[in-house]
């Protein structure tokens, strides 16, 4: 009886009063021992379940604790821009640059945010379209056999390390893109967005597929009964019904795109200047962290500024994730009714 229960054996050392009753083992004593074990096990599992919450809180606390210290030495205005002297025209002007290692360190977050947006928004639009098509194909169009080929393919694509995608773009795709679009910079935001799309297409496709599959069969049958073709059913009935799921997929995809690090670090050119031209070199928040945190002295002004960037990034993705979570749980509740 006692063999298969590891916790029981450790308790049998006799530290606990209930376990010591064992000498005069009766049925009720054994029951009580089992009840105690059950109680302990439940508490252990509940604690393990709480670990995810604990880590989210810890991450937030550490980023906030280190990041907000930046405000102690840096004037908040300097996170937007600074008055600097132009070396060529010798006139003072208000510039937005991130240049922490210079005579007068510049900490404007705007170029980094613009860089992140210039990656995340095009990547989300492109992979939204592709992912929607893939999701619809997987859930509505593909035969079972075809689906069993395409779906694992998507999962394998999602499992390719991002550094590999970055490297492949660096050595071959970037030149190809330059030849097609005749850009002045080989490494630019467009190439970065393309690479990030590869990562988030499988995410969006899977979520869209799940959303479509969650739609009850009666709705499809109703549409067919009214004489709609399969595509009309998809276009006019299923896509509108699954809209909240599709929206959640796009939001989550955008969160992923904002957080993608290695690809953008390798292929966007790393120029922290404020621009909205997708064919210019840019630098995202994630790439800035990856490039600079390794060389910075702990506790320095730049160190705190970098943690502030991390905090901004975390808060952005946190809200995107929460929004998607709420949209999905609403959809589930509505479909169950």
């Amino acid at each position: 009886m006692d063999k298969g229960i590891p916790l029981d054996n450790s308790l049998a050392g006799g530290r606990h009063p209930i376990v010591r009753l064992r000498a005069s083992e009766g049925l009720s004593a054994r029951r009580r021992r089992q009840a105690l074990l059950d109680w302990l096990v439940e508490k252990y599992f509940a604690a393990a379940g709480g670990v995810a919450i604990l880590f989210i809180l810890l991450i937030f606390m550490f980023l906030a604790g280190e990041g907000l210290q930046a405000f102690r030495t840096i004037d908040p205005m300097r996170f937007i821009g600074a008055v600097t002297e132009n070396v060529i025209t010798e006139q003072t002007e208000f510039t937005h640059t991130w240049q922490p290692v210079s005579e007068v360190p510049k900490y404007s977050l705007l170029p980094l945010m613009a860089g992140s947006a210039l990656i995340a928004i095009p990547a989300t639009i492109f992979s939204g379209l592709v992912g929607l098509a893939c999701g619809i194909f997987l859930s509505e169009i593909a035969s079972r056999r075809l689906r069993e080929i395409v779906k694992p393919g998507m999962e394998l694509l999602a499992g390719i390390p991002t550094v590999i995608i970055g490297f492949f773009i660096l050595v071959s795709v970037a030149s190809l893109v330059q030849d097609v679009f005749h850009t002045t910079r080989r490494l630019n935001a467009f190439v970065g967005a393309l690479g990030v799309s590869v990562v988030i297409i499988p995410t969006i496709a899977t979520l869209v597929e799940d959303a479509m599959r969650a739609i009850p069969r009666e709705i499809r049958e109703g549409a067919y009964a009214l004489g709609a073709t399969r595509w009309e059913t998809i276009r006019r009935v299923l896509v509108p019904s699954g809209m909240s799921g599709i929206a959640a997929a796009l939001i989550l995809g955008m969160g992923r795109a904002l957080g993608e690090t290695m690809i953008v670090l390798m292929v966007t050119g790393n120029a922290a200047v404020l621009t909205f031209d997708i064919f210019k070199s840019i630098r995202t928040m994630t790439a800035t962290l990856a490039a600079e945190l390794g060389e910075v002295a702990q506790g320095s002004e730049q160190y705190h500024a970098l943690f502030l960037v991390g905090l901004v990034l975390f808060v952005f993705t946190f809200f995107l994730n929460m929004a998607a979570e709420i949209v999905i749980s609403r959809m589930r509740r509505r479909l169950r009714l």
Binding site: G49, I53, I56, F137, G159, F167, R235, G255, T317, N321
Partner: protein, 317 residues
Amino acid sequence: MRFPSKTRSRKIAGAFYEGLCAGIALLTLVALAWLLAGIARGGWGTVTWEFLTQPPDNGMTAGGIFPAIFGTVALTLLMILLSLPLGVSAAIYLTEYAGPGMAARVVRAAVNNLAGVPSIVFGLFGLGFFVLFIGRGLDAFLGEKLLFGQPAMLWAAATLAILVLPVIIVSTEEALHAVPASQREAAYAMGATKWQVLSRVVIPQARSGILTGAILGVARGAGETAPILFTGCAYYLPRLPVAQIPGTPIWMINPLDQFMQLSYHVFIMSTQSHNPTLVRPIVFGTALVLVTLTFLMNLGAILWRRRYRRLREQARG
């Protein structure tokens, strides 16, 4: 008669759009194949037995990648040891104990959120929390000068363990859900307590699903670069991260040492090398090894999962 022709045009339009969706879906597979073929073609000539078993040589412009392979294996092993017990326990809580209440919803939201935290933020957290807070704290407590409070494999593995936690939780949950309710009910009917039902009926049946989760987690962790940038990865390390246990002839992985790692090797050699064209074959070779490792693990997990899903469907009839 206008009706039939209109029906036909509707059907043609439908076929066109459906074909478009199918074409796009197949194009993503073509992209995957192109990527794999490109890496394979570039790395094919480089990957030899010597490349796999020798350390880098001649200022990283020649030689092999054995320390990086060793570091990757050691790191992911340590990671899964830290992550698996925690992830499986959390999944057991979610499926078996939590019920549909508020607590479960909050935990689930936290797990989903953890899955969406940018990998570089994990790197930041690993540096701030594990290396500087816990590591330096341990040093101060033990009166050591600098033993724990520096980047090391242990901290990198701990950081990665948090990152793969959602992967493990989600697949374990799926595996636990797959155990039929009737099995549990039968065990309860025979007077088993909840823990007995779990440890002797539910968990043994979910074992292969849990294994799948572990493999997916390892594949994910092996490919990540950003979280280990500041928590223990080394550009070049002349020795392997191993240590002899004092007084015995046994060598073991030294979790307090730094290490080389495949994905970091790809990154650093392709962007920071002073002679990018000379080392390109090495980068391609390293990339091929890394892709092969993660690809095979993912493929294995997918095929294994498909097999037991089928068995389950058959069992249900």
